[in-house]
């Protein structure tokens, strides 16, 4: 900035040297910032994360350089151009410099142009459809995540004979013979191209897996989708990023006593492990459900098909929620009968789930979702499931 007298050529050539040196230092600083900072990011667990982090590093290089430029000029001016004690004179009457103003309009314009083009390119690659993608479902409900998988007959364990399935299970098979798995955690394996189709039962939630660098809102009235391809085995937290009410902070994967609770993405090292540790045992447990309703109820609740776990505590299943009353010993909580006017605990529990607003446990608000008997309603819970759940809850007497 040639605001000082640029008369003598010696001065101006040394000024150029200084400008070049400062420029180099600034660019080097930008690179330094960009190399050091990303080590602070969470694990890089998807192909998308690699692309996004590369873009981030680029943004940081530029941002870091601009940061150093502005702070540098500022610091230099503050030291160099401070008014000395007693100096009440004015600075030189300079009103501007067209060249300089042109430069500092043009350079930022070019920079943002480059950033825009690069971002667009990353954007298209990270969400490009893949030929063999697996589709799974995500349901967000206050305040839990549920994942659903359709398992086709050809993916059933080899020794399953469909004709041998119990009748009530036969009835639940889809037209093409597939069944639905439901789980709190999403299981996948390295290299599987995943597309998630997401719906919400109530308010807006936002499905975020920080380690995958993906995020997408779940919007009432719409099905939204998100794609990713895991590249590193491990367990990765799912987080709800859109305010959804009192339990918003709980709508994330947690570790309780060393166990994974709530939403997690579990990436198995390869397809074989995925089948052995998740797909086959889970499929079998759905194809051959326990006969005992108590066992069945336990299995249903443990699968995470319903979002009870974020709101309730239940030691038997490792739940630690505090938004609703603890369910430890709920089967013996007969003091509710008088208060609610139900004849027995079975009816009481049935009604607490079908119609939770009708009677509120003292000290709690009307926060529990109503679980409805019809598939067309939100928070659908078939009567068969409910009966098993009630049977299980009745067995929880201490």
């Amino acid at each position: 900035m040639n605001v000082r007298n640029p008369n003598s050529s010696g001065r101006s050539s040394s000024a150029i040297i200084w400008i070049v040196l400062a420029g180099l230092a600034i660019i080097a600083g930008g690179f330094l910032i960009a190399t050091l900072t990303p080590s602070l990011l969470p694990a890089q667990a998807s192909a998308q994360a690699v692309e996004v982090d590369e873009l981030f590093r680029f943004l940081l290089t530029i941002g870091g350089a601009i940061f150093l430029l502005v702070q540098g000029v500022l610091a230099f001016s503050v030291v160099r151009f401070r008014a000395r004690a007693g100096d009440t004179s004015d600075g030189p009457p300079i009103h501007g410099n067209t060249t300089l103003e042109f430069v500092w309009t043009a350079i930022p314009a070019v920079i943002v142009l480059v950033i825009t083009i690069y971002s667009y390119q990353v954007w298209t690659t990270t969400r490009a459809p893949q030929p063999n993608e697996t589709v799974a479902g995500v349901v967000g409900a206050r305040f839990a995540w549920t994942f659903t998988y359709d398992v086709a007959p050809e993916d059933f364990p080899a020794d399953v004979d469909i004709a041998q399935l119990p009748e009530n299970v036969q009835a639940t098979l889809a037209e093409n013979g597939s069944i639905q798995l439901v789980s709190n955690q999403f299981h996948t394996y390295v290299g599987q191209d995943v597309r998630l189709e997401m719906v919400t039962e109530d308010v807006i939630h936002s499905f975020w897996v920080p380690s995958m660098r993906i995020k997408q809102d779940l919007l009432p009235g719409r099905v939204t989708e998100v794609r990713f391809t895991p590249i590193e085995p491990g367990v990765y937290r799912v987080v709800c990023a859109e305010l959804c009410g009192s339990g918003h902070g709980d709508m994330a994967g947690q570790i309780v006593n060393g166990n994974l609770v709530g939403g997690w993405v579990i990436v198995h090292p390869d397809e074989e492990t995925y089948r052995r540790e998740f797909l086959e045992p889970e499929t079998l447990s759905v194809l051959f459900p326990p006969e005992d309703p108590v066992e069945l109820g336990r299995q249903i609740l443990a699968s995470g098909r319903y979002p009870c776990n974020t709101c309730h505590t239940l030691d038997d299943l490792g739940w630690v929620g505090t938004i609703g009353p603890s369910l430890n010993g709920i089967g013996a909580r007969t003091q509710r009968l008088d208060a609610s006017g139900h004849p027995d605990m079975e009816t009481y529990l049935h009604e607490s789930i079908r119609n939770p607003g009708a009677y509120l446990v003292p000290g709690f608000g009307n926060l529990m979702p109503q679980f409805n008997p019809e598939p067309t309603q939100p928070n659908y819970m078939p009567e068969a499931d409910l009966e098993a759940v009630v049977a299980y809850l009745l067995s929880q007497t201490e």
């Binding site: 100096d87 009103h95 103003e101 309009t105 943002v112 142009l113 954007w123 009410g245 902070g249």
Partner: protein, 568 residues
């Protein structure tokens, strides 16, 4: 009754007296209204600040401890955000605008004095409604109030919240009309648009933004209220509505609202940096016009707040427009640096906060460009990265500049100087407290901490403790400002008409100015920032001869002869 030992002939003979009662009544004097706005806004700043301290206390640990449940926490940040935006920053700029736009134009008052008073008096009821909402099922859907959380899942306080914002909205629309008419019609002879002080330019750009944007807030709020109380389904897909309708209309107002909150500040920093470094503003036209450019382009970027909800195909156009905004913003920053370069920088409280703003705001600008980049935004959207970004803009930008404006103009409003030593302490604590409150939040967001949660993963605790402690320092630093204002009002050094030896018209009258602002018609200097010339010096000396001496320019009181108050 005291006099200052000034050469006789000055109008500034009486020691400024503070008459509290005149501020409690209906008054159509723009200066009284300005102070009324300012005091009201500061009151709500304190409330919003206390809420922020509670939020940070809760976040000292990963579990719930200060508040009883998530809902109470949601109320805290909902009220914090709403109050800080609508009852602190926006009214505070109305305060400075009201007080100084007429003075800087050499006018006797605003164009519509009665309307001006009316606009102010909408605020107290609005604030009361907002506070009452707390008691009837408090609003807990965040200041953004996304349906269906704010419609089907919230208590009655949410309705009151919307009604209260309606009142604020009407107030700011009326204020904006008044500013536009005043600036268009009441400039003195010889002051074209390009001779106006940059603060006036900024207020003009802000008023245009308010006028065009705020009706959309009103529309959104009306639909929200209807959905809540009369069974309509504008935002309910079950009845054919759409949740994104709210987001689109709300952000069509609320993105420009960012400029409503920062543009006047850009005006302040231009005044302060030029005056306190004794050098003409660098690139006057570029600064003036970039305000307009920001205001206009600002209307095309709203959906960058919806990068995780908007239809994917529509995200790219909004990335492009959002990137464009960086250019006029950059022009401003570089122009301020150009102004400083070669100047005589005086480290007054006003200057320190303006310098601090340039240094902090640039971080908000950089993270802003990052957020405009869709793929990166996807990762940090709705996280602490965003919380950090907008606090760098709204606190590091707007609030720093409100402080700067207070130090710059308090002497004009009260006739007394603020203590510069306290100002320096205030600045250092604010600057450090601010940086360590908000910078680590960038890291928290990148690492995976979402915003608006009372409970978080244990690995984030270290950074959160740092943030909370810094925020307590930041909160405490405000007490120094209040103490400074208090002792200044009681026994501050008499300011005199023009303590900063500035060239804009508000300094060509007594401090505080008389009822109709000027004795006779003031003659503007042809360039509001024409420092460094003999003509400028002569103009300032002439004011001094006419109105009496002022407190010294330099921050070091020993170097200068101050006007001494005698006889008290």
């Amino acid at each position: 009754m005291a006099t200052i030992s000034a050469p006789v002939g000055g109008a500034q003979l009486e020691r400024p007296k503070l008459q509290i009662s005149q501020y409690l009544r209906w008054s159509v004097d723009h200066k009284v209204i300005g102070v009324q706005y300012g005091v009201t806004a500061l009151f709500f700043f304190i409330i919003g600040g206390i809420l922020a301290m509670l939020i940070r206390a809760e976040l000292l640990t990963p579990a719930l401890d200060v508040v009883a449940n998530g809902q109470e926490y949601n109320v805290l940040f909902t009220m914090h955000g709403t109050i800080m935006i609508f009852l602190w920053i926006i009214p505070m700029w109305a305060a400075f605008g009201n007080y100084f736009v007429p003075l800087m134009l050499g006018a006797k008052d605003m164009a519509f004095p009665w309307l001006n008073a009316f606009a102010f008096w909408l605020l107290p009821p609005s604030g009361i409604l907002m506070l009452l909402a707390y008691f009837i099922g408090p609003p807990e859907a965040g200041w953004t109030a996304y349906p269906p959380l704010s419609t089907l899942f919230s208590g009655d306080g949410q309705t009151l919240w919307a009604v209260s914002l309606h009142l604020v909205g009407i107030s700011s629309i009326l204020g904006a009309i008044n500013f536009i008419v005043t600036i268009k019609n009441m400039r003195p002879a010889g002051m074209g648009y390009f001779q106006m002080p940059l603060f006036v330019w900024a207020m003009l750009a802000q008023a245009i933004t308010i006028l065009l944007a705020t009706p959309f807030l009103a529309g959104a709020l009306t639909l929200l209220i209807l959905d809540r109380i009369s069974g309509t389904t504008f935002f309910n897909p079950a009845g054919g509505g759409d949740v994104l309708l709210w987001q689109n209309v709300f952000w069509f107002y609320s993105h420009p609202a960012v400029y409503i909150m920062i543009l006047p500040g850009f005006g302040v920093v231009s005044e302060v940096i030029s005056t306190h470094s004794r050098k003409p503003i660098f690139g006057y036209r570029a600064i003036a016009l970039s305000s307009l450019a920001i205001a206009i382009v600002g209307f095309t970027v709203w959906a960058h707040h919806m990068f995780t909800s908007l239809t994917p195909e529509l995200r790219i156009p909004f990335m492009i427009t959002s990137m464009i905004i960086a250019v006029p913003t950059g022009i401003k920053i570089f122009s301020w640096l150009g102004t400083l370069w070669g100047g005589k920088i005086h480290f007054t409280g006003a200057m320190l906060f303006s310098l601090g703003m340039v240094s902090m705001f640039v971080i908000g600008g950089i993270t802003g460009v990052m957020l405009a980049s869709v793929p990166f935004d996807i990762h940090v959207h709705d996280t602490y990265f965003v919380v950090s970004h907008f606090h760098f803009v709204l606190f590091g930008g707007s609030v720093f500049l409100i402080y700067s404006a207070i130090y710059h103009w308090f002497p004009k409003i009260t006739g007394r100087m603020l203590d510069e030593r306290l100002a320096r302490i205030h600045f250092v604590l604010t600057y450090l407290g601010f940086f360590f409150t908000f910078f680590p939040q960038n890291l928290l967001g990148m690492l995976g901490m979402p915003r608006r949660v009372a409970v978080y993963a244990p690995e984030f605790q270290g950074l959160n403790v740092l943030v909370s402690i810094a925020s307590f320092v930041l909160g405490a630093s405000l007490l120094i400002l209040f103490y400074n204002m208090y002792i200044s009002l009681r026994r501050g050094q008499i300011a005199g008409p023009n303590p900063w030896r500035a060239l804009t018209l508000e300094w060509t009258t007594t401090s505080p100015p008389p009822a109709h602002n000027f004795i006779g018609d003031p003659v503007p200097f042809d360039d509001p920032y024409g420092y460094g010339t003999e003509a400028a010096k002569a103009y300032i000396d002439a004011i001094e001869r006419r109105l009496g001496p002022s407190a010294p320019l330099s921050t070091d009181p020993r170097r200068h002869e101050a006007p001494v108050a005698v006889g008290d």
